[in-house]
């Protein structure tokens, strides 16, 4: 938006003067670290970045990014971000918020933002709990979850964020774990550069109210067996020594050990352009399957809502050129009183 050359940013340039108020050990810190790195490397001026959030622990995020930011109301961040992006498409707009915010009260705004393919970037900090309100179950909590509001265990099946993203027509869908800052940085970065809505789910540890919920997917001793790193065009392998893989059998998939008869050629190839495949990935749950990490789906060809709007506005202006406001106000059905 300005013409002097872009400053060289370091991650720490994006720190604000506000103390970070998350609990010690909260997974949100890692996301903040990754995000500062992303912003430093984007090639976008600080003043052209806007962070938007709803309410929740995760939603404190904008206060810690030295950019423009809006901490809005519970569940409405995607709508706020939509207004910003449609008003000024030159801005790079992020939504960072929690599972309660984006999937419970805000679920509808999320799916509608996704279907519109607005060029905004949504990062879901999924800790499977309501952190800020001190520990009620969230729409991603597992069945039977004992929390303050469900002393005898929760009853409702969790919502599957990435399945919903796939079904809503999101054009960039990815998943990562909080502790994996490197991958997280890369996935968010690619999402920002993607034209269209990017949706990145982060498995985030709430150290206080849902500690270790994701340890199976984040800890050294367990993560290799419980997660699978997706690579486009590559066979789906996992395990500490990549000794296991995913194979299709008829309408189903199964885990196989590599070696013996089974080679990489037998395995399912990850294709990030295939929506049905992305849906399949969203249905892989540990312990039966490793849970995929990385880019589930990417369709760079869908037009964005903001571009379409821009084109439409330009088009109308061209066609209506020369119309004056006075003629509009006067209309074409007037009479004169003398």
């Amino acid at each position: 938006m300005s013409d002097v050359s872009l400053p060289e940013y370091k991650a720490k340039d994006f720190a604000t003067d506000q103390d970070v108020r998350w609990c010690p050990g909260c997974g949100d810190y890692a996301v903040l670290t990754a995000m500062k790195k992303v912003c430093a490397g984007l090639g976008v001026r600080r003043e052209d970045l806007v962070f938007v959030s709803g309410i929740g622990c995760a939603a404190r995020f904008p206060y810690y990014m030295n950019t423009y930011g809006a901490h809005t109301i519970h569940g409405r961040a995607p709508a706020f971000a939509t207004g910003i992006k449609l008003a000024n498409p030159e801005l790079t707009v992020f939504v960072v918020s929690g599972d309660g915010d984006l999937l419970s009260i805000g679920g509808n705004h999320t799916i509608h933002a996704l279907r519109r393919n607005m060029d905004i970037n949504i990062v879901l900090l999924n800790n499977k709990i309501y952190g800020l309100t001190k520990g009620q179950y969230s729409p991603t909590s597992e069945v039977g979850k004992v929390t303050k509001s469900t002393p005898y265990g929760s009853l409702d099946a969790p919502l599957n964020p990435l399945a919903v993203a796939v079904a809503s027509g999101c054009t960039y869908i990815a998943r990562t774990v909080d502790v994996d800052v490197k991958n997280m940085t890369a996935l968010i970065d690619r999402g920002v550069k993607h034209k269209g809505t990017s949706f990145v789910e982060v498995y985030q540890d709430c150290n206080v109210f849902n500690h270790q919920a994701w340890f199976y997917a984040s800890q050294k001793d367990s993560k290799h067996d419980n997660t699978l790193m997706l690579e486009h065009g590559k066979p789906m392998v996992f395990g500490k020594d990549k000794e296991k893989g995913i194979r299709r059998v008829g309408d189903k998939i199964e885990v196989v050990e590599l070696g013996g008869d089974v080679t990489q050629d037998d395995l399912l190839i990850h294709d990030e352009r295939n929506l049905e495949h992305a849906f399949l990935l969203s249905q892989m749950f540990s312990p039966e399957f490793p849970e995929p990490m990385g880019v589930f789906y990417c369709d760079p060809d869908e037009p964005t809502y903001n571009d379409l709007l821009h084109d439409q506005v330009e088009d109308v202006i061209r066609k209506q050129e020369g119309k004056t406001l006075q003629s509009l106000v006067s209309g074409n059905n007037t009479w004169t009183v003398k």
Partner: protein, 624 residues
């Protein structure tokens, strides 16, 4: 009909109320609209009120499928669509049945008698064997003119040598009826014929339809002339309007044009986000066509997304506007609180309808005033203004934008279904003469930016993303004075609460003072759409030799500066409202004035004589 003079050819009247009614499919809105054009071109003053069927299309001929359009036109200034109807056109029994009681005693009723067959009579619940057209009481009460409009239309339009579609022909019945009415009120049908010819012939490229319609209207006109159905023909002299160029305008149209004008005057684009709802949808429809005037519209997934995206757009430097009706406003309240806390400009249009809950979507009411004032959590004052006539919606729309930008604060702009849909003649304003709206966005001076540092009006700076050096974060948590950081300090909260209220109060300096008209010890104080009824009722009282003063509030929060003074000068204050007394409650509480309410919470405007009578009764100490 108020007759003022007799001429040999036609009776001169000062004011006439005509109502067209029939099935939703009969084109009554169009007919009414065309007739309105005719009286407008003839220089009459007028007001119109469409009366849509309740929400939904219905099987032909049923009572709930009836569509009506009423117009009052006059040689004087008029302000309401008229109490009693002087001439009714009823295209079918359902229209006849549901509109009969609106007609004055002795009034003319032109019916399409062809439609009064067994089937249709049954559909609208008449007893078997009964035809109201044969009813003696009805015939003696009204001047019933039975015209076989269906048959006559066919006969006039179907010619042996032409191949026309019967469906197309039948669709012209309304034009035949229009022709009759035009003859009856001595209107010149040429302008309508021209318009029809242009519309169907040129725009739609359907010459034959243009031709059929023109012929139908002429046939009706000539039928009126020939058939000697009517004892007399009437004429309404041109009104004594201020010289100038006029157009017809409805409140929703005026609102749209006002917003477009505001965009030009403020020099910033507008982002209008909305979710369809009766009777506010037309504002969305209108603005959606104005992309070339700097307006972007967004149909959101619901009212909450609409208002929130509008606030987002304001944050990004646009004028964020959202529009809705009562139930939608209820949904937006949490977000309006956010805008109040963020101190960003926002205009929330509420075209009110009858509530509560879904209520009566097609009926009008003024019952969202207190919701607008208080319907938010916490101490959350916003600016509240209201339009008082269809044309006034234009000017108040500009005011809404001006005040929102000036005070960095949400404005709730109250219109009403009865204003939004009603039309009146409107002197076209000279856009160039409308003053600009000043807005400025700060740029960095190298110092740390303080997003809640207030200026002399008590307002914080509107720093826009994209501006280097002013990066800042805002939100719905209480802010620290000056820095805008999140702050839970008690004294700070008290201070910020006061500042948010004070900056609104300060607007008293830049809004017009309340004008009082008339000299009396009684003031009739109104707001919103009641202006027309109040003026007409007061004029009627004047004729009865009773004088009251009037004043009309367009600004509710803040009130005009002189309101207290004004009120203190009167012995008696009467507040007529289309609700159970919402402004009255505000006035009583603020000024401890024993204001008396005249309230009608029935989903329609006051009838002028009803209002005049009630005022009269109050004056005589007989409070009703």
């Amino acid at each position: 009909m108020t007759s003022s003079d007799q001429t040999s050819k036609s009776t001169e009247l000062t004011s006439v109320s005509v109502r067209f009614c029939g099935d939703s499919g009969d084109g009554m809105q169009l007919t009414g609209s065309h007739f309105t054009d005719l009286v407008a071109f003839a220089g009459n003053d007028f007001t119109t009120a469409p009366d849509f069927p309740a929400e939904i299309r219905a099987p032909r001929g049923t009572l709930f499928g009836v569509s009506g359009y009423q117009i009052q036109f006059s040689s004087n200034d008029i302000h309401t669509p008229g109490d009693a109807v002087n001439a009714l056109v009823a295209m079918n029994p359902a229209g006849f049945k549901s509109n009969l009681q609106t007609v004055e005693e002795g009034g003319i009723i032109i019916v399409n008698e062809d439609e009064f067959d067994k089937g249709n009579l049954k559909k609208c619940g008449y007893e078997e064997g009964y035809n109201p057209l044969d009813d003696e009481v009805i015939n003696s009460t009204y001047n019933i003119c039975k015209v076989p409009i269906s048959r006559l239309t066919r006969e006039s339009l179907i010619k042996e040598d032409e191949d026309v579609s019967v469906k197309d022909v039948d669709r012209c019945r309304n034009m035949f009826a229009l022709g009759i009415i035009a003859w009856l009120f001595s209107s010149d049908i040429e302008p309508t014929i021209e318009k029809i010819t242009h519309y169907f012939g040129v725009v739609k490229n359907k010459k034959h339809i243009a031709e059929l319609n023109s012929r139908a209207i002429k046939a009706g006109y000539f039928f009126g002339e020939t058939a000697e159905l009517f004892p007399a023909r009437y004429q309404v002299a041109p009104a004594d309007h201020e010289p100038g160029e006029y157009r017809r305008i409805s409140g929703n149209e005026a609102l749209v044009l006002g917003m477009a004008t505001a965009v030009e005057k403020v020099g910033k684009p507008m982002f209008y986000a909305s979710y369809p709802i009766t009777p506010a949808s037309d504002v969305l429809h209108g603005l959606a066509r104005l992309k070339h005037f700097g307006i972007r519209t967004f149909q959101a997934e619901d009212e909450i997304a609409a208002v929130v995206s509008a606030i987002g757009a304001s944050f990004a430097g646009h004028i964020g506007v959202t529009g809705t009706s009562g139930p939608g406003l209820a949904l937006k309240t949490e977000a309006v609180g956010l805008a109040t806390m963020m101190e960003l400009p926002l205009v929330v249009i509420n075209v009110q309808r009858a509530g509560p809950a879904t209520g009566m979507p097609t009926k009008s009411e003024q019952s969202d005033l207190l919701q607008s004032m208080f319907g938010r959590s916490g101490e959350c004052p916003v600016i509240v203004i209201a339009a008082s006539s269809p044309g006034d919606c234009f000017f108040m729309a500009i005011e809404a934008v001006r005040l929102a930008c000036r005070a960095m604060c949400p404005v709730i702009f109250l219109s009403e279904g009865s204003l939004g849909n009603a039309a009146e003649p409107w002197m076209i304003p000279d856009i160039a003469s409308i003053p600009d709206i000043e807005v400025s966005h700060p740029v960095s001076d190298g110092e740390p930016f303080m997003p809640y540092q207030r200026d002399e009006h008590g307002n914080r700076p509107w720093a826009v993303p994209g501006t280097a050096g002013l990066e800042h974060r805002i939100g719905g948590l209480e802010k620290e004075d000056v820095t805008g950081n999140v702050c839970y300090d008690n004294a700070n909260h008290a201070l910020m609460t006061k500042q948010r209220a004070d900056k609104i109060q300060k607007l008293q300096d830049i809004i017009p003072e309340l004008e009082v008209h008339g000299d009396s010890d009684t003031l009739v104080l109104g707001w919103g759409s009641t202006k027309g009824s109040i003026l007409a009722a007061v004029a009627m009282l004047e004729e009865r030799g009773v004088n009251v003063a009037t004043a009309h509030l367009n600004y509710i929060n803040p009130f005009p500066k002189n309101l207290g003074d004004v009120l203190s000068k009167f012995k008696r204050v009467i507040i007529p409202e289309i609700n159970t007394g919402q402004l009255r409650m505000l006035i009583r509480s603020e000024f401890l004035v024993d204001a008396i309410g005249i309230n009608n919470c029935s989903g329609r405007s006051f009838y002028v004589n009803e209002l005049a009578d009630e005022i009269h009764q109050v004056l005589e100490g007989v409070q009703s």
